[in-house]
């Protein structure tokens, strides 16, 4: 496999895991704009566990994910006291705090970052991403997944149906934090370095967009959203190359990709506010299941 393709696949797999971390809370109606903070915790946690504790990649990844889960669990309590746009702001503030701590910590390398000594390749990253996807599909098919979707639609009625809404929401933040941190740990080990600037606000915004544009109604959403947003820039680049445009023009296309993104996002919000993959869409695409007796 070419180095280029491997690189794209690794980034795609990391983004897919990250997107599921944000999807888990979004599916239950909570918007987490602190994705970069959780990913940074996983990346730096994994780096430190390797550099300072001498842990091999496997245990370091697992512990970093657990750390993200623990932080998700803890911050869910203050965050869940807020609603709607305030929740978005609270999670965003959390990520800013994480970035601030990293930038001001010498141990964490400040703005210089850290260089890792270990490395994982896509032989590890792809199976882990596959496992996360399968787990997400499994979770969404359980009664817990049904309860999450019910909370998304009407929290008060979900509670009346016997759902412990608070427990589900806290669990979602913990699990989501763990998955985002897992993606961060893999990121650190794949690229071999961590840098605070990577885990900035734009990253939190992008991963939330993957999820919202992909759709939060089904477990397909983050997969489609992350694939769309990871592969689109690569597609644009390849297109420029295939058309044989001048290198300057190619660079111009690449530099304007935020603009192109912006246009696509606005178009999506207008055309498909529920995201690309919706229940209705799946229903129309999949063969009709057994019908019961007709009316009357």
């Amino acid at each position: 496999m070419s180095g280029y393709l491997t690189g794209v696949l690794a980034l795609l797999a990391i983004n897919v895991i990250f997107a599921y971390g944000i999807f888990i809370t979004a599916a239950a109606g909570q918007l987490n704009l602190g994705g970069a903070g959780f990913q940074a915790i996983g990346a730096y946690g994994c780096a430190l566990l390797g550099l300072e504790a001498g842990l091999p990649p496997g245990p370091a990844i697992a512990l970093a994910a657990l750390l993200g889960g623990a932080v998700g669990f803890l911050i869910s309590f203050p965050v869940l006291r807020t609603r709607g746009v305030y929740m978005v702001l609270a999670t965003f503030a959390f990520a800013e705090v994480v970035a601030g701590v990293i930038l001001n910590s010498e141990r964490l390398g400040g703005s210089m970052g850290l260089i890792l000594q270990d490395y994982v390749d896509i032989g590890i990253i792809l199976p882990v991403a596959g496992g996360v996807v399968l787990f997400a599909f499994y979770l969404m098919s359980t009664r817990v997944g049904l309860a999450m979707r019910a909370i998304h639609d009407d929290e008060a009625v979900a509670e009346l149906m016997g759902v412990h809404t608070r427990a589900v929401q806290v669990g979602c933040f913990a699990l989501g934090g763990a998955l985002a941190a897992l993606s961060g740990a893999l990121y650190a080990l794949y690229y071999g370095f961590v840098e605070a600037q990577v885990f900035g606000p734009l990253l939190s915004i992008f991963v939330l967009l993957y999820v919202l544009i992909g759709g939060t109604q089904t477990a397909w959403g983050p997969l489609v959203g992350a694939a769309f947003f990871t592969l689109l820039p690569e597609g644009l680049r390849s297109l420029a190359a295939a058309l044989g445009v001048e290198p300057e023009l190619g660079r111009a296309i690449e530099e304007s990709r935020f603009l192109i993104f912006g246009v696509i996002i606005v178009a999506m919000m207008i055309l498909r506010p529920q995201g690309i993959v919706t229940r209705d869409l799946l229903e129309r695409m999949l063969p009709r299941r057994r019908r019961g007796a007709g009316h009357g």
């Binding site: 359980t142 817990v144 209705d280």
Partner: protein, 256 residues
């Protein structure tokens, strides 16, 4: 009279200084078909909210089978056997018909049941059971159809089926016949008779009086947050306080 399955006493509730429930008492015998009626704003839905645990009363007690459940959170009340529907339909718009009904089964699920992949098993017992109840009510289970696309009358019925999926001992319906046509109302009555014969206690808020008379033996009338009549359905038409409440002489004051 049989021992009450549900008993309320001294229930008071105010919203911002407005007294919506004033010293309400209610006793519902096991297996009863009990109607709760009254003019708009009388406090019927608020009383349902108190019984189901959506809001806490300022004073008074809610007893289920002789046990004080006033402080029991809403999610545990359905486990104890109280299920309800809503005046304005509150189905989950992004869930399919069957999923909405399966949500009604949530309170009965064990811990292992919560983590079983029921959605991946097209023939899971939970799904088959949900489809069976829908069919018993003459509803097409529309396996995958999202409820927001369905007509009002159908959604109304699905909400009742969702509540029944919890296998409640007490089923509270807030204006189940509103918006249904004559044939649908008759079918609803027959269906609820069947539910009642299966041993479920019914408490029904309803403005449709012929429906009330055809279904319920006992009527409680509320007006301005107070119980003004509590007795056999047959006597309600002649009761002077009820007549006055409905004819509106007492409006604006502390009448009846």
């Amino acid at each position: 009279m049989a021992e009450p399955v549900l008993a309320l006493g001294g229930i008071c509730k105010s919203f911002g200084g407005v007294e919506v429930l004033r010293d309400v008492a209610l006793s519902v015998p096991r297996g009863a078909r009990h109607a709760l009626i009254g003019p708009n704003g009388a406090g019927k839905t608020t009383l349902f909210n108190v019984i189901s645990g959506v809001i806490a009363p300022d004073a008074g007690r809610v007893m289920l089978d002789g046990r004080d459940i006033t402080a029991v959170p809403a999610r545990r009340r359905i486990r104890l056997g109280i299920a309800r529907s809503f005046q304005n339909i509150r189905l989950m718009p992004h869930l399919s018909v069957v999923e909405n009904v399966m949500l009604g089964q949530h309170a009965r699920a064990s811990l292992a049941g919560l983590f079983a992949p029921v959605g991946l098993m097209p023939r899971s017992r939970a799904r088959e059971e949900a489809m069976a109840v829908l069919e018993a009510f003459g509803l097409d289970p529309h396996p995958g159809q999202v409820v927001s696309n369905l007509p009002y009358g159908v959604r109304k019925k699905i909400e009742i089926v969702r509540a029944l999926a919890a296998r409640p001992r007490v089923l509270m319906l807030d204006e189940p016949a509103a918006g249904l046509n004559t044939a649908e109302t008759a079918a609803l009555r027959d269906f609820l008779m069947g539910v009642s014969e299966a041993g479920v206690t019914l408490i029904v808020v309803e403005h449709d009086m012929p429906f009330v008379h055809s279904l319920c033996g006992h009527v409680t009338v509320m007006n301005f947050g107070r119980v003004i009549y509590d007795g056999p359905a047959a006597g309600v038409r002649e009761d002077p306080a009820v007549l006055e409440a409905y004819l509106g002489h007492g409006r604006g004051g502390d009448a009846a």
